[in-house]
Subunit: 216 residues, 2 copies
């Protein structure tokens, strides 16, 4: 379950927000001062941080906390001036909202920050790839891929155009401790090419492989 840390000293606002967040299906941890926020930091997946706390501006300790554990942070504030928004972003916040704000917009911004972790569907030409069900469809027809092939495919589609050296692929997919020969990589590439003809995997002789980007 996704855990959102809400840092807010105002009782009324805090109660409303934490209730709202929980209604959306997230776990919510409500910290009322910097001390509590720091101790809850490590269990959180995302932070909603009020800038004005009793102890002062929370931007002061934000960078330090982010050093310890990087997290997406959405800063809330009553300060509307542009300079102060910029300060917030430069302190490491991922987003910035000015009070008063709509709960729905906050939700949308939370979802943006969480997106890379959660949801999952990829496309490449006539291929559609569902990461959660591990289902590959090609022109609506399902294609069965073996685990290693699937991992390879995901890596390529998520990094279209990037060149991967064989060693790099071995590291990313097989892991540091496994050392199959690089011919193994060739074979898996071959299998991908045979099973999924639309995959334009280019060979860069002496270098590695690369999935050609789809043009607009």
């Amino acid at each position: 379950m996704i855990n959102i840390l809400l840092v807010e000293d105002d009782i009324l606002l805090g109660e409303g927000l934490s209730k709202f967040i929980m209604e959306q299906g997230y776990q919510c941890c409500w910290a009322k001062d910097a001390q509590q926020a720091k101790s809850a930091w490590f269990t959180a997946d995302l932070v909603i941080l009020d800038r004005q706390l009793p102890e002062g501006d929370s931007l002061i300790w934000l960078p330090e906390q982010l050093m310890k554990k990087a997290l997406p942070v959405i800063v809330l504030t009553a300060k509307i001036e542009v300079e102060q928004r910029i300060e917030g972003l430069q302190a490491g916040a991922k987003d910035y909202m000015v009070k008063p704000f709509s709960h729905q917009e906050l939700l949308a911004r939370i979802q943006v920050q969480l997106r890379p972790l959660g949801e999952a569907k990829l496309c490449y030409k006539a291929l559609s790839i569902d990461l959660s069900t591990r289902r590959i469809c090609f022109h609506g027809k399902e294609i069965h891929l073996k685990p290693k092939e699937f991992q390879l495919l995901i890596l390529f589609v998520q990094n279209q155009g990037r060149v991967f050296h064989r060693d790099e692929l071995l590291n990313k997919i097989w892991g540091f401790q496994a050392f199959p020969s690089t011919r193994t990589v060739d074979n898996h590439i071959l299998h991908l090419r045979q099973k999924l003809p639309p995959l334009d995997i280019e060979t860069l002789r002496g270098v590695g492989y690369r999935l050609k980007e789809v043009e607009g």
Copy 2:
């Protein structure tokens, strides 16, 4: 070099923004309609997208583009209503700004989105060299280089104006243990010159080669 794709049909705003972006040290590609935006999509590292284009709401085709290549997108709009901000974020945008906005704040938000990245791109005249995809483009057309040629090119472009003796090139590119004749170097220089006419490789008789520096 980081490449920002600006999609904006308003000439005045587009000129101002693209100038500003370039002043900040980014490369800026300015697309004036959806068609141009889609074809420039794959070379971009970040997109600034105006929502109202002549063809209609750009949110319609945004998710499809993001499927092809995921990119951080900052949406610009005149629409101030919360519901429309939420639409934008749900369509896949990473951030949302309402016109009129401060250039400085846009810059800050660009920096936020680029923070995780650190990509490497080189330029020389009409040539653009992407190290991660090993792709060389000359006036938008891709050029295929063999590994040794590619290494040579990188070395020259990263050391513009510096003279390299043949022996030095042999050492840097072929390594200490390999000792091909120096004629081999000549041949590779020849290939580079043939494939990439804008490369101004000067011959210093009796000394070696040097890539002429680009002004500015």
